[in-house]
Amino acid sequence: MSRLPELHQQLVRAARDQEAQERELARLRIPARRLLLALSFMGVVLASATIALATSGLIPIGSPVPPNHRLRAGVGLGLPEPGSSRLLPLRVSDPEGGLPWGMRIIRTSREEVCLQVGRVRNSELGVLGVDGAFKDDGEFHPLPLDSLPAHPPEIVGFFVDATTSCFLPGQAFVGSRIAMHVSAAEGSLAERPQTSPRRDLRNVYFGLLGPQAVSVAYEQEGTQRTQAVLPGTGTYLIVQPFSTESSAPSLGGGGSTTFGQMGPGRRELLTSITYRLHGRLCERGPANVTAHPCPPSPGPSHRELTQLHERRRLHMPLHVHLQIDNGLVTGADVSFRAPYAIDSARHYYSVFLPEPECHPRPGIPPMEAGDSIAIDHDVSSGQVVSTHIVYPFLPLRRQCMKGRTTIEAVYQEVDGPQRTIVGKITLRQPPGTRGGPHAKPLR
């Protein structure tokens, strides 16, 4: 029983309309797949023509994947470093044959290391023009370096090209891509992969585990398998037919672990990872599958834990300009002078709106919560950094700070637990204004 049966009925009706429109659109198109089927019927052995041609090396090369014009040297991931791209000597067969799958490493101007997965033709990584990608032209489209996403997928969230995963040097990474299209094209290049037939989808698992890694073990169709990782980088790539039996770690699963420490997560394909640590082979994984467990990963030290509560304070001025529209405080422009330069993704500034504990208890260090806005670009030392906050006095957000808000400018290193508070300011909401669209005016 629905609480809103009217909405339920409307949604189902809208979904039916949407389906009907899609059917009509599909009818009006002449899909390459149907054309290929017709050719095959005529006796030409072109079943899955792209794949068949690919095995004989005859697949035509099409236009490169369009560059990402949003890439900027000092913003987000930065630009790919010239000459830093390396196609890894990993070639993994597709379950239905055709061009093998491969992976390359790209370093960026902001010191990110990116792993990019695709199909490989003659030592080149690219995507296939099948099933919606590149209008089903059946060609191989090389992936240029500047086709990287502009921001790390982990930051951007759900709507990104997830054939690429980026992290910082020295970090191990375990990622997966469930229901990746057989074309290896993602994001705006592919058309509705969720509506593709299951046979055109793959589960792709990949990772970079560092030089200590030796092999990964996983289960496929009830059989335990072991795959050696690529020496040096500890990279691996596994391609399986699409299945919902093995779940994916969300957003690439724990990319911040240091080399030698990464173990398989609870919901990943991998069942164990074998390392050579201090000259001895050992495994990380659940106790019931590891015969020779590695020494446990050291947890955070007492010093590191106490550092979480320590703050270095620079007491530099913050400038804030409130935006008030018809009595509603809609935003605040915040600016400050950067005490340190930012030259890579290893460190960053952010503006933080702490939410103080309304009833702090004596003897327990205050825990920090609040809204944080990361400033994801390079900055020169002394440069004025500015950002914008929406609804700084939103009453839902700060119930025990009625009519006040605190803004902190923060400097932080990604690997460092300690934050530096560049400056801090507490503002009072102007009398008579509202802190949110549904709030009452402040007396």
Partner: protein, 180 residues
């Protein structure tokens, strides 16, 4: 074969109109409750829920199960709808209108059915918690965010989040036990 909730959701999202309807029913209460807690208005919660599912219907082709659960994806849309509505000062309804969904006319019974989701005592106990613990519990328990995801969002360690959730739930339990 037994499918997990996430797998069932992903299947419903990739399915036809009836499946989308079932997906709505599976998450209706959670979504209404999510908006109700934030807006304290049954009418606003209903409107925001309608827009969220309209956006989900329109954008379901972009759902990618490798990047998280369908539930997480839905609540990602919900957060966006809420923040956009707050920013604009009115409930977003652009996609709802584009898909031809009519404005919801809520009678007293419908409003009462939504208000049942409030859980007044538990809500009050939650509201009384320190902000940090409330944020952690809302994220983890009510919105079902992962610990890693929460830790990244709140810029603190996974263990700190676990501690906040655990302490907060204990305090809520003590408080509710005291009320009984």
């Amino acid at each position: 074969m037994h499918l997990t909730d996430d797998e069932q959701d992903a299947g419903l999202l990739a399915g036809g109109p009836e499946e989308f309807g079932r997906l709505y029913l599976r998450h209706e209460d959670a979504m209404l409750g999510y908006f109700l807690r934030r807006t304290r208005s049954a009418e606003l919660a209903a409107d925001l829920t309608a827009e969220t599912f309209a956006q989900a219907l329109q954008g379901r082709g972009s759902f990618d199960p490798s990047l998280g659960s369908a539930r997480g994806w839905l609540f990602g849309i919900a957060k966006h709808v809420l923040s956009e509505s707050v920013r604009r000062g009115r409930v977003q309804d652009s996609v709802r209108r584009r898909l031809g969904l009519e404005r919801l006319e809520l009678d007293d019974d419908a409003l009462a059915r939504i208000d049942q989701l409030t859980g007044a005592q538990a809500s009050a106990a939650l509201e009384d918690l320190p902000e940090s613990q409330r944020t952690a519990i809302e994220g983890r328990v009510l919105d079902e965010e992962g610990y890693d995801e929460l830790a990244a969002r709140l810029r603190c360690s996974n263990s700190v989040i676990r501690q906040r959730v655990s302490r907060g739930l204990r305090m809520m339990h003590d408080r509710l036990a005291g009320l009984a």
